[in-house]
């Protein structure tokens, strides 16, 4: 029961601050709302007994990624100046995306597949995200292919960044 209350609390916190990310006029305030939102997600993970994921969420996203965002916001625009008002196309596109999302969720719940997947999950003894060992085993067995693919994607992105940011002397035709 108390975890239900906590769930609603953190859910409201997460979605509320996620909204604030989009609506906030000030870019620094937006980045901080993102931080709160991520911490909220970590708290939701804790409620699911996925302590490892929660810690990783805080460590990687809240601790490093948002700090980088803030860093860049501050470098580009010293005082976190005001955001431009939304364009019409943006509003239409986001409304469309929201409608799609709601539609997708509705179909899921209507077909009851969420229901069954939840009950299937409860039969598992160790939640995957709880301990290092369970998580690692899953990563290297069930989810090996996705992990490899994502890793490959990240590698490509990293190489791209290196190529883009490095100055090649004497190789003018590269650019």
């Amino acid at each position: 029961m108390s975890s239900d209350i906590l769930f609603y609390l953190f859910a409201v916190l997460t979605t509320g601050s996620a909204l604030a990310v989009v609506l906030n006029k000030n870019t620094v305030a937006s980045a901080l709302s993102l931080l709160i939102s991520l911490v909220g997600v970590a708290a939701l993970f804790v409620l699911l007994d996925a302590f490892l994921l929660a810690a990783l969420m805080v460590f990687v996203y809240a601790g490093a990624v948002v700090a980088l965002f803030l860093f860049i916001v501050m470098l580009l625009d010293t005082y976190g100046g005001d955001r431009k008002p939304f364009k019409k196309a943006t509003i239409v596109a986001s409304a469309f995306a929201l409608a799609l999302l709601v539609l997708g969720l509705m179909t899921f719940t209507r077909r009851g597949s969420l229901e069954t997947s939840v009950s299937a999950a409860t039969t598992e003894v160790v939640p995957v995200g709880a301990s290092l060992r369970a998580y690692g085993e899953q990563l290297f067995t069930t989810y090996l292919l996705p992990v490899q693919i994502v890793g490959f994607l990240l590698l490509i992105a990293m190489l791209g960044v290196i190529v883009l940011s490095k100055k090649f002397e004497g190789l003018e035709d590269v650019k």
Partner: protein, 386 residues
């Protein structure tokens, strides 16, 4: 003596008590550290340091001059000053974030300590039980995760101050903290690879690290600083950078940034930053000791359990779990205090690195070194367990 009544209390009361205990222990240690810093700097520089303040009411107590010479009352006076001084909020700052920043600095500083074990005792079943507020399996990751949030206090303080020097300090701090976090994390991986080698427990708990260092035998009892000196070194350097201590105190670097991110702060809010810095140092050195210096084991190859058993032959009360717990905490605290002394010793010895040197060391030296270290140990551990 039986402590079961304590465990019968409702959870929230226990949690509140434990939280209060943390604050009541950490705050005085942090405060004492600030005085130790002044005294150590003084002695290194051939000065006596603060040695005059004494409340006139207490001056008649015989022998109190020792406390006076040690500057204990100066500490109390400084603390009182921070509380009673006017706490100005400069015009033009972003008020909300300006006030939020020091509070944000305190949260990670105080909460990381909950997952750090301070000692251990043998329960009636003869099993070693850690003395820790929250014995979680992901111990180290939790410390890293929460303490990585400390950077926001610095960034926010710098940004909200609406002033150039704090801003530069904040930007530098964020870059520095992110850079050194990488090598710090990579440097502890060999430790956990070794513990979690095939057949190991699969854990990130700090208690298990100490347990691993207190096994019988030559290799079992060796502290990790002997088996992994490079990891320990990288971790130590990164720790200096993460706690913004000299020679890495870029965010403050008073010779080019006035006071860095806290230039605009005064009185109580400033003291929160100050205490947070010392709390980071305490927790950081606690983790360092747990990982590489055998935690509460008095000497390498001599575990706490062994020494308590040996003592129990001479002193009958030594077998009591309470004594063992207290001894463990005392040894651990002693090690922490020595490590803090080392921090101060280094601070009053070395000049500050230039900012580009800091970045070079972080990215071009420490990071490749820690990656090479990780690969070497991974191969070594794989071969050992073949």
């Amino acid at each position: 003596m039986d402590f079961s009544f304590y465990f019968d209390l409702p959870l929230w009361i226990r949690l509140t008590l434990q939280g209060l205990a943390v604050i009541l222990v950490l705050f005085p240690i942090a405060a004492a550290c600030s005085m130790a810093e002044r005294k150590i700097s003084a002695w290194i520089q051939g000065r006596p340091g603060p040695n005059r303040t004494i409340p006139p009411l207490l001056a008649w107590v015989p022998g109190i001059w020792i406390l006076q010479k040690l500057g204990v009352f100066q500490l109390a006076a400084d603390g009182g000053k921070f509380v009673f001084k006017e706490d100005p909020v400069p015009g033009g700052v972003n008020k909300f974030y300006f006030i939020a920043a020091p509070i944000l600095a305190m949260i990670p500083a105080l909460s990381t300590v909950t997952v750090v074990p301070f000692g251990a005792y043998l329960d009636s079943a003869g099993k070693l039980v850690p003395i820790v507020l929250a014995n979680v399996d992901i111990g180290l990751l939790a410390v890293f995760a929460v303490s990585s949030l400390g950077v926001y206090a610095v960034i926010l303080a710098g940004w909200a101050s609406n002033s150039k020097y704090p801003f530069l300090g904040g930007v530098r701090a964020s870059a520095q903290l992110i850079s050194y976090e990488l090598s710090m994390t990579l440097s502890v991986l060999p430790v956990f690879l070794w513990i979690n080698a095939p057949g190991g427990q699969g854990t990130l708990s700090l208690f298990d690290v100490v347990q691993f260092q207190s096994q019988p035998g030559f290799w079992g009892g060796a502290w990790f600083v002997f088996t992994m000196p490079l990891s320990a070194f990288i971790f130590l350097v990164a720790l200096f950078a993460e706690t913004n201590r000299q020679p890495f105190d870029m965010p403050e670097s008073e010779s080019d940034l006035v006071g860095g991110f806290h230039t605009e702060y005064g009185a109580f809010k400033w003291s929160l930053f100050f205490v947070a810095e010392y709390c980071h140092m305490i927790v950081g050195s606690a983790v360092f000791i747990l990982l590489f210096f055998g935690g509460w084991n008095p000497l390498p190859w001599v575990t706490l359990t062994d020494s308590v058993n040996a003592l129990a032959g001479v002193l009958p009360f030594a077998a009591h779990p309470l004594f063992m717990g207290a001894l463990g905490i005392a040894i651990f605290l002693g090690k922490i205090l020595f490590s803090i002394f080392f921090f101060m010793w280094v601070r009053w010895t070395l000049p500050r690195f230039r900012y580009d040197q800091v970045m070079n060391i972080g990215w071009k030296k420490l990071l490749p070194l820690s990656i090479a270290n990780l690969i070497a140990y991974t191969l070594g551990i794989a071969l050992l367990h073949k």
